[in-house]
């Protein structure tokens, strides 16, 4: 066997192992969500296929899962959109205009992204309590926007830097303001990049846990991660089937998103990290 052949066998084997490694917990999750018995792996236990876990998660009033899902989608989408809008303005200035202290600003923002969330959550909690915002969407949307801004800024700067400056000049000659140039010239040209950024900001906001844990006390603004983390049964027993059904419902859109936009997500992630 030549070296090339053994290499391709190794690579194929590695690829299979990688996929199994990444997907097997999801497989287990999906199986449990479809089974009457969360302990179906025990010998002599029937699997008992059922949709009752999904039905009870979706329909039950006491679980509030659909409220968590709605909250998560609204909060993450709002944060992602605001974050990308604000970061676009800043990224335009950083790549086109003489921002005073530009490099300091970029590095300040970069270091902000590495702050441990626990070092600001108590103060955010006090702030939101004073404002009377605990258990509201804005109590999470604003911190999430701020939290995703470093990521959005760094990715957008790398995309905007690729848009030819000549386009700006043409716009200026036509009498457009800088803001008009950003909206009419840069946005259309950099649309794929802006979309990638928004997708990543959405995923980051969707996955956030600590802020949501401290800034919500009931289902009115609680998000999916906290909802699933605190999912307990009424009778002391952990309702594994229902929890896994909730996890499955959460995972399905994520799977679709990553399958469809795999290239965009990878591009955005790499720009945010490696170029940084």
């Amino acid at each position: 066997m030549t070296e090339e052949q053994s290499k391709s066998i190794l690579v194929a084997l590695g690829a299979v192992l990688t996929v199994v490694f990444c997907l097997s917990p999801f497989f287990y999750m999906a199986l449990t969500s479809l089974s009457r018995h969360p302990d179906f792996l025990l010998p002599d236990k029937p699997f008992g296929i059922t949709f009752s876990n999904f039905l009870s998660v979706i329909c039950s009033d006491s679980v509030h899962f659909m409220a968590f899902l709605r909250n998560s989608l609204i909060i993450s989408a709002a944060s992602a959109v605001i974050s990308v809008l604000i970061a676009s303005l800043a990224a335009y200035a950083v790549t086109r205009l003489p921002v005073p202290g530009k490099i300091f600003l970029m590095f300040l923002i970069l270091s902000v992204s590495m702050f441990p969330p626990v070092s600001l959550v108590s103060y955010l909690f006090k702030l939101m309590s004073v404002l009377g915002w605990v258990n509201t969407y804005q109590a999470l949307v604003f911190p999430y926007t701020a939290w995703t801004l470093p990521l959005s800024l760094w990715i957008l700067v790398s995309y905007f830097a690729q848009v030819p400056r000549d386009l700006d000049k043409a716009g200026l000659i036509d009498g457009c303001s800088r803001l008009q140039i950003l909206i009419k010239v840069i946005f259309p040209v950099a649309a794929p990049g802006i979309f990638s950024t928004m997708l990543l900001a959405f995923i980051f906001a969707f996955n956030e846990f600590l802020f949501a844990l401290m800034l919500t006390t009931d289902h009115s603004a609680r998000t999916i991660p906290v909802g699933i983390a605190l999912f307990e049964g009424l009778h002391g027993q952990i309702p594994w089937g229902e929890i896994m059904a909730a996890a499955t419902i959460t995972t399905i859109p994520v799977v679709i998103l990553t399958l469809v936009f795999q290239r965009r997500i990878i591009q955005g992630l790499t720009r945010g990290a490696v170029k940084g």
Partner: protein, 292 residues
Amino acid sequence: MPTIEKEQWKALGFVAPLLLFVVLLVLVPVLGTLADSFFRDVTYLPKKFIGLGNFEQLLRDRGFWRATRFTCLFVVVSVPLEVLLGILIALILNERLPLRGAIRACVLIPWAIPAAVSGRIFELVYNYSFGAANYLFRVLHLTEGPINWLGSEAGAFFALVVADTWKTTPFAAIILLAGLSSISEDLYAQAKIDRASLIQRFWRVTLPLLKPVVVVTLLFRTIDALRVFDLIFVLTGGGPGGATTSLSLFGYDYFSAGDFGYGSAASVVIFLLAFGLSITYVKLARFEREVV
């Protein structure tokens, strides 16, 4: 032509909303936490300035040292493991494979779902009486009886490392993949002409050129692992008996008990650790040459 000064004001106007958000919702809270750490700030008691009192108490607090030791051990074990596995996966993803897009998407999924969700999945995997981990060990005859994963110190640590590795290796792999794909094919072609074997090519060409990206990934993952919270909160709750309480969880526990002063002091320590590392990271970043 607009004057330079006018342009600068305009530039500031564009940056202002970003600065406003970051200052009000990140920098002010961090400084507020720092200020709180100098106070006795407990619910129902009057707030009182106690200087470094909280920090002195931290130094004497065995729970704090235990959390520090656990956090460091967690970083030292999980981060290298994740980066090593990440390199392997990146090497595979960099090859021409059928269904490459689908395989890459599969790798992204663990990264893309909330850690709280994967934490619950792993909680079930490690369930003592019917979880998949003990099922596999039984079917493969690896142990005599079931293992008490989440109820023993070593078991809980191992469980956390595995769950964290599963969740974050994809991220490491994606970053490393970007580094790999920027290595020129010509170098490999030349190495092949020089009759370098597969393994030699990896050690002599791939690894040296990948080194900067490996360093960045290590640092990125270290900063992230240092502040680990979600997974531990869900999977072990810091247990058994506080054995897997990370520094972030330690701080949070005091916040949720209403002791904001002491919790803030602990948070300041985590902040300083992460900040020190992020300064190193920022120094490595080559932003100036690339964009401005």
